[in-house]
C-alpha cells in the first residue's frame, strides 16, 4: 500500500514548490537558532531571502560528517536540550561519536518515513512485525519499531541474536514481516538449517533489510531460502535513521521521501550537481527536522537518481543501489566502521603502534566478522603469554568501545602487515557482495 499518496504520488512540480518553501523556512530556522550555521551561511554569502525556490539549494554550502564531529556533541543542535526527546549515536571517523537528536516532532517525522517504507514493502496495518535489528543507540531497532507502531503493525521487539527464539516466536506469533540486516537474515537461514527447521513453516512473507550493502545475488539467496520477498531499506542516522528511502513491489530502485529528505547527486570532489541520471555522491537536506537539521549533508554513498514515475504510481525519485563509497568507511553488521577510528583507538593504548590491518569476512552463515591484526612491537612484547593476552583483550575492549562492534584481535609479528608505498594496506574486504 501507499502510506502518504499525497506526497509519494504528487506531481513532482508540486513537491518542488513545497520543497522550495520548506528550504526557505529551514534556512531561516537554522540562522535563527544556531550560531554555527549562522556563521557558515554568512561566510557563504547566503541569507534566507536568497532562497526562493528549491533550485536555490545549490547556493547553500554542503554539510559533511566532520562538521558533526568538530561540533561534538551538540554544536549543530537547533533546539534547547530540554526539547531533545531522544538521542542516538553512531561512530564517527575518529575519536568522537556522531550524535543525532530528535524532538518529538522529529520522532514523528522518522516514524512516518519508516511507515512509508514498511508500506512500500507490502506491510499492511495489523501485520505482525518482527524487528531483529539491534535496539539501542543504533537507529535500526527503534526506527523500525516506531515505523511499525505508526503504521498500526503489531511490533515484536526481538533485537538481533538468539535465532532459535526468533524462529519459535515467528511461528507462534505468526510474524508476517521481518526487519533486520540482510546478513542476519542469511545467518538465521543457516542456523535454521542446522536446527533442522522445517522451512515450510516460515511465516515471514516480507523482509525489510538494510543498514549494510547487499547485492541482488544476496537478495535472491535470501528470498529463495526463506520464501519471502526481500526489500532494501536505506537510511543513515544523521538524516533520521532507516527509512529515508525504500523499494516498492517492483524492487527497481529505492523511493526517497523527497518532500522531507530532499536528495541531490553531487560530484564527490567539487560538490557540484552532476547531470541527471549520472552517478555521484548522494546529498540530503532534511527539510523539516528540528533538533539537528542538516543542509545538503554529503552521505558519501555513490548512487544514481531516477526521476521517472514508477509503475507503482509513486513519483518520488528512486535511488539506484548504492554502488560504493567515496571514503573508506565499511559497514559491518549494520555498523559503520572507519579505519581511522582503529588507528585513533590504538594510539590511545599505551605500547601499541598504529600499525594494523582490518580484515572483513562474511562467514558461511552470513554474518560479517571484523578481524584486526595488530603488530606486536618490541615495546610491548613480553615473554609471558598472560601479559600478551591481556594486551589483546585491552585492544579488543577499546576497539569495541570506539567502533560499537565486536572485533577479533590477532597479534602478529612486527613488519608483517603489508606496507604499500609507505602506508599499510589497511582494509581487506573478503566479503562477496
Amino acid at each position: 500500500m501507499i502510506w502518504k499518496p499525497e506526497f509519494e504520488c504528487a506531481d513532482p512540480a508540486d513537491i518542488r514548490t513545497l520543497a522550495g518553501k520548506r528550504l526557505r523556512s529551514l534556512v531561516e530556522y537554522v540562522c535563527a537558532n544556531n550560531p554555527i550555521y549562522r556563521k557558515k551561511l554568512a561566510d557563504a554569502g547566503v541569507t534566507p531571502e536568497k532562497i526562493n525556490s528549491i533550485a536555490d539549494i545549490v547556493r547553500l554550502p554542503v554539510t559533511v560528517k566532520d562538521d558533526l564531529r568538530d561540533t561534538y556533541p551538540f554544536g549543530l543542535f537547533c533546539v534547547p536540550q530540554k526539547d531533545v526527546a531522544e538521542i542516538h549515536v553512531s561512530s564517527g571517523t575518529t575519536g568522537n561519536y556522531t550524535v543525532v537528536g530528535y524532538t518529538k516532532a522529529d520522532l514523528a517525522l522518522w516514524s512516518d518515513a519508516v511507515a512509508r517504507s514498511l508500506a512500500a514493502s507490502g506491510a499492511n496495518p495489523g501485520d505482525r512485525l518482527q524487528v531483529a535489528y539491534g535496539y539501542g543507540l543504533f537507529t535500526g531497532g527503534l526506527g523500525l519499531h516506531y515505523g511499525g507502531l505508526e503504521m498500526g503493525l503489531s511490533v515484536l521487539p526481538m533485537s538481533s541474536g538468539q535465532t532459535q527464539r526468533q524462529l519459535k516466536l515467528m511461528q507462534d506469533f505468526n510474524c508476517r514481516v521481518l526487519a533486520c540486516t540482510p546478513s542476519y537474515a542469511l545467518h538465521m537461514a543457516e542456523e535454521a538449517k542446522e536446527l533442522g527447521f522445517d522451512f515450510s513453516q516460515t511465516k515471514w512473507k516480507i523482509g525489510v533489510f538494510g543498514a549494510e550493502p547487499w547485492s541482488n545475488a544476496m537478495r535472491q539467496e535470501i528470498q529463495d531460502k526463506w520464501g519471502l520477498k526481500a526489500y532494501d531499506i536505506y537510511g543513515l542516522s544523521e538524516i533520521s535513521g532507516p527509512g529515508v528511502a525504500n523499494e516498492c513491489e517492483y524492487q527497481d530502485g529505492l523511493h526517497i521521501w523527497w518532500d522531507v529528505f530532499y536528495p541531490e547527486v553531487l560530484n564527490p570532489d567539487t560538490f557540484e550537481p552532476v547531470p541527471e541520471g549520472e552517478p555521484g555522491v548522494l546529498a540530503i537536506t532534511t527539510l523539516t527536522k528540528q533538533a539537528i537539521p542538516l543542509i545538503r549533508y554529503v552521505t558519501r554513498d555513490v548512487v544514481t537518481l531516477n526521476y521517472a514515475k514508477c509503475r507503482c504510481g509513486r513519483t518520488c525519485p528512486r535511488i539506484g543501489r548504492v554502488t560504493g563509497r567515496t571514503d573508506d568507511m565499511i559497514i559491518v553488521r549494520g555498523i559503520n566502521v572507519f579505519p581511522s577510528q582503529i588507528e585513533h583507538a590504538l594510539l590511545k593504548i599505551e605500547g601499541t603502534q598504529p600499525y594494523y590491518q582490518l580484515i572483513v569476512d562474511r562467514k558461511a552463515g552470513g554474518m560479517d566478522e571484523l578481524e584486526v591484526l595488530v603488530e606486536v612491537e618490541q615495546s610491548f612484547f613480553s615473554d609471558k603469554i598472560s601479559k600478551l593476552e591481556a594486551l589483546a583483550a585491552t585492544i579488543r575492549q577499546k576497539l569495541h568501545e570506539a567502533l560499537l562492534v565486536h572485533v577479533k584481535v590477532t597479534l602478529v609479528e612486527p613488519k608483517t602487515i603489508e606496507r604499500s608505498t609507505g602506508k599499510s594496506k589497511r582494509v581487506i574486504d573478503r566479503r562477496k557482495m
Binding site: 606486536v376 612491537e377 618490541q378 612484547f381 613480553s382 615473554d383 609471558k384 603469554i385 600478551l388 593476552e389 589483546a392 590477532t410 597479534l411 602478529v412 609479528e413 612486527p414 613488519k415 608483517t416
Partner: protein, 139 residues
C-alpha cells in the same frame, strides 16, 4: 646468580620457528634448550642460548620482537623427590613461579630446571641460600 633466556614472539604462521633457528645459526649462536608457549593465535619461543645478547641483536635486526628475560636455572638432583625439594625451597622463600620448564645437557646426570620469577636476582639469592645449585648458561 641468574641467567638469561631469549624470548621471541612468533606469529601463528608456518616456518617462523625455522626462521629464528636459521638466523641464530648464522649468527653463531648455540641453542641449549628450547620451549614454546602457545596461545590460540601466537606463540612465545623461549630459548636458552650460549650468547643471549648477540642472539637478541640478530633477531631484532630481522624485525622480530624479542628480549633477554632474566631466569633462574637450577640443578635438579636425579632422584625421587628431587624437584619437590627445590619447590619446597621456593615456597619457603615466598616466591611465585611465573612458568618453568626442564631440560638436560650433556655431561651432567642432573636435570636442569628453568624458573621464571618476577625478581630473578632475589629469587636466585634465596635459592642459593637454601643450598640449591644455580647454573649459569653462556656468558
Amino acid at each position: 646468580m641468574y641467567t638469561k633466556q631469549l624470548s621471541v614472539f612468533l606469529g601463528n604462521k608456518p616456518g617462523r620457528l625455522l626462521e629464528v633457528c636459521r638466523l641464530l645459526g648464522r649468527a653463531g649462536v648455540d641453542i641449549k634448550a628450547a620451549n614454546i608457549a602457545e596461545s590460540k593465535d601466537f606463540g612465545i619461543l623461549r630459548l636458552i642460548v650460549d650468547k643471549c645478547d648477540e642472539a637478541l641483536a640478530a633477531l631484532k635486526a630481522a624485525s622480530f620482537s624479542a628480549e633477554c628475560t632474566p631466569i633462574v636455572a637450577v640443578e635438579v638432583p636425579d632422584r625421587p623427590g628431587g624437584l619437590a625439594q627445590i619447590l619446597e625451597a621456593i615456597e619457603k622463600a615466598g616466591l611465585n613461579i611465573e612458568y618453568m620448564y626442564g631440560f638436560s645437557i650433556r655431561h651432567s646426570d642432573d636435570a636442569l630446571m628453568v624458573f621464571r620469577f618476577d625478581d630473578a636476582e632475589n629469587a636466585s639469592k634465596a635459592l642459593a641460600a637454601a643450598g640449591i645449585c644455580i647454573v649459569t648458561c653462556g656468558k
